[in-house]
């Protein structure tokens, strides 16, 4: 029974999912990014016929292969967790999650069993053009495969294109295209793949810099830096553009998350964009939640208003506007949403009672209510609020949201600088002499991983308490299993993934030290 759910179970289930997702995401972005870099390098080889480009391609393909093989199927563990730890949620989302994941599974299977095999086994066995096509298909296929997972995740952030069926207690997809072209999905896909391209580029730039530091394979290193520099610079610009688009969408569909990202407790006009800040507690409270303010900040005046509202005096909504409501701005309060959620829950409870006593007339009448668009959009849309105790419970942990967002943005600008400098030194012909820069590039390899994980922490922690925005809080989604078993599997996963990561790094380092084949 839900009233018996203990927080330990919810917290451990969340921690386990976070652990597996974070580890899984250590492998994925390099596959997405490096696959395109390989395709570009091989294209140059096929176009020019220059054997050195083949050698360059094959070297990076080896590192791609190691990462791909170690990371493959680590995402399946997340699916295990859905069925075991998050059964209420899995049932409730119905085919909306199932359909995209099935497409992803089929795509991944065909991709991995055919074109990846051609990529690795096909050198000198298939024609150059067929091999190149396979490499491109792996790159496109891997990225398309990510699309479907991101579509499913986007639906959780902004549930669209479905209707709830009380008979099955599931959401049913009524508009596939609305789910696919959900604005959150489009933004998330573009932002995720561009950040993965950036990560792959930094990986190539960093390792190539190591070769230059060691004065080994200098031609290969320079050629790799050329591709990584151009691809990385374009990707990092695309990341900042898509990041901005994502933030705008979040301000529309998850306004409390957006206000938390900016630590904006009170809404205001002429709001400045905080480039960097340190938060501290104040005496003020929203309900029982302590309001934070900046102990220190570097702010660009008016820019947040311009970015979100298009004008200097545009009003930017704060957390308080969304908790207490703001009639002037047409913002519904959380207590109002709680009432609507409770109404939807009462209707569902009536349905359950009618089913128990076989009252067919009542059942048909309630099914009619659920078929009513007004009920779905204005009441069932807030179903999750029926489980919220206090209005302030819908505020995520502001420091986590604020710092993860800002650190990610700061790193994003740093990446633009690093790629621009790499190209500048390369074209100037002084990259080998600027050893300080080569060290910076080498030591920067982990930074896009950190930025990427911060992006996911922002996405997932910023939407708390929801597992499905406004419709289902995490506490309702969890299965009634013992927290002891979740703790056991948490430890098992931590060990398994750490071993996999150590294996990957050690095999990769060995291959890097060996260098490309002569």
């Amino acid at each position: 029974m839900i009233e018996n759910v203990d927080l330990t179970l919810v917290d451990w289930s969340r921690a386990q999912f976070a652990l597996t997702a974070i580890y899984h995401w250590l492998f994925v972005p390099l596959t997405l990014g490096l696959s395109f870099i390989l395709a570009i390098m091989e294209t140059i080889y096929v176009k020019t016929g220059n054997k050195e480009w083949k050698r360059v391609t094959r070297f990076w393909m080896t590192l791609f292969g190691i990462n791909f093989a170690i990371g493959v199927a680590t995402g399946i563990i997340l699916e295990f967790e859905f069925g075991t730890n998050w059964s209420n949620y899995s049932w409730f989302v119905g085919d909306i999650f199932g359909a995209p994941l099935a497409v992803e599974g089929i795509l991944a299977f065909f991709l991995e069993s055919t074109f990846v095999a051609v990529m690795f086994f096909g050198w000198n066995k298939v024609s150059k053009k067929f091999h190149l096509t396979s490499t491109w298909l792996v790159a496109i296929g891997a990225n398309l495969s990510a699309l479907w997972i991101l579509v499913a995740n986007a639906w959780m952030q902004n549930p669209v294109g479905m209707t709830f069926n009380p008979e099955t207690a599931r959401n049913e997809m009524v508009n596939f295209w609305a789910v696919l072209f959900n604005q959150v999905a489009v933004d998330k896909f573009l932002h995720t793949i561009s950040s993965s391209f950036l990560l792959g580029s930094m990986f190539v730039l960093g390792i190539s810099s190591w070769f230059l530091i060691r004065k080994r394979e200098e031609l290969m290193a320079r050629r790799s830096i050329l591709i990584a520099g151009i691809f990385g610079l374009l990707s990092s610009l695309m990341v900042s553009y898509t990041g901005d688009a994502s933030a705008r969408t979040i301000s529309n569909v998850q306004p409390v998350k957006f206000a938390s990202m900016e630590a904006l407790f009170e809404g205001k006009s002429n709001a400045g964009l905080v480039a960097f800040g340190i938060l501290k507690d104040t005496d003020k409270k929203i309900g029982e939640r302590v309001v934070k303010e900046f102990a220190f900040k570097i702010e660009i005046p008016g820019l947040l208003s311009v970015l979100s509202g298009g004008a200097n005096d545009a009003y930017v909504e704060g957390i308080a506007d969304h908790i207490s409501g703001n009639e002037k701005k047409g913002i519904m309060s959380v207590p109002e949403k709680m009432q609507r959620g409770q109404f939807a829950k009462n209707v569902l409870t009536d349905y359950k009672r009618a089913r128990i006593i076989n009252d067919n007339e009542e059942l048909e009448s309630i099914k009619g209510i659920f078929r009513d668009k007004e009920f779905q959009d204005s009441y069932f849309r807030y179903f999750g609020y029926a489980f919220i105790n206090k209005p302030e419970d819908v505020i995520p942990k502001v420091p986590v949201t604020f710092y993860s967002f800002h650190l990610m943005v700061i790193l994003g600008f740093l990446f633009i600088m690093i790629f621009a400098m790499a190209l500048y030194f390369l074209f100037k012909g002084t990259i080998s002499e600027n050893r300080w820069f080569l060290w910076i590039a080498l030591l920067s390899i982990p930074l896009p991983y950190i930025a990427s994980e911060l992006g996911w922490i922002l996405t997932e922690m910023g939407r708390q308490p929801w597992i499905i925005q406004d419709m289902m809080p995490v506490s309702i989604a969890v299965s009634q299993i013992s927290s002891g078993s979740v703790i056991t599997t948490f430890i098992l996963f931590a060990v398994l993934f750490t071993v996999l990561l150590i294996s990957e790094i050690s095999i990769m380092v060995k291959q890097i030290k060996t260098g490309p084949k002569q």
Binding site: S87, W91, K345, F387
Partner: protein, 79 residues
């Protein structure tokens, strides 16, 4: 028919030669993949990750009733 068999044969040879001529890192990685998949499917999935609703209930009707119960019983307040 004969042409199909030839295609299958050349596909088999392609994969066979690929695996046989695999480099040292390739072999190492394949061992890791096999161990990983074994741990995931033969240990974790089998002993630690049963499908909660599939295991507890026989039909979708029962599963939906259970979830409906979960959704309509007393509220649990998120902290």
């Amino acid at each position: 028919m004969k042409q199909n068999l030839q295609v299958l044969n050349s596909l088999f040879r392609f994969y066979n030669e690929g695996f046989r001529n695999m480099s040292a890192w390739g072999r190492k990685v394949w061992i890791i993949i096999i161990i990983k998949l074994f741990i995931m499917f033969a240990i974790l999935k089998l002993f630690f990750f049963p499908d909660f609703l599939q295991e507890k209930y026989d039909s979708d009707k029962q599963r939906s009733e259970y979830v409906l119960d979960q959704l309509t019983n007393s509220p649990y307040n998120h902290d």
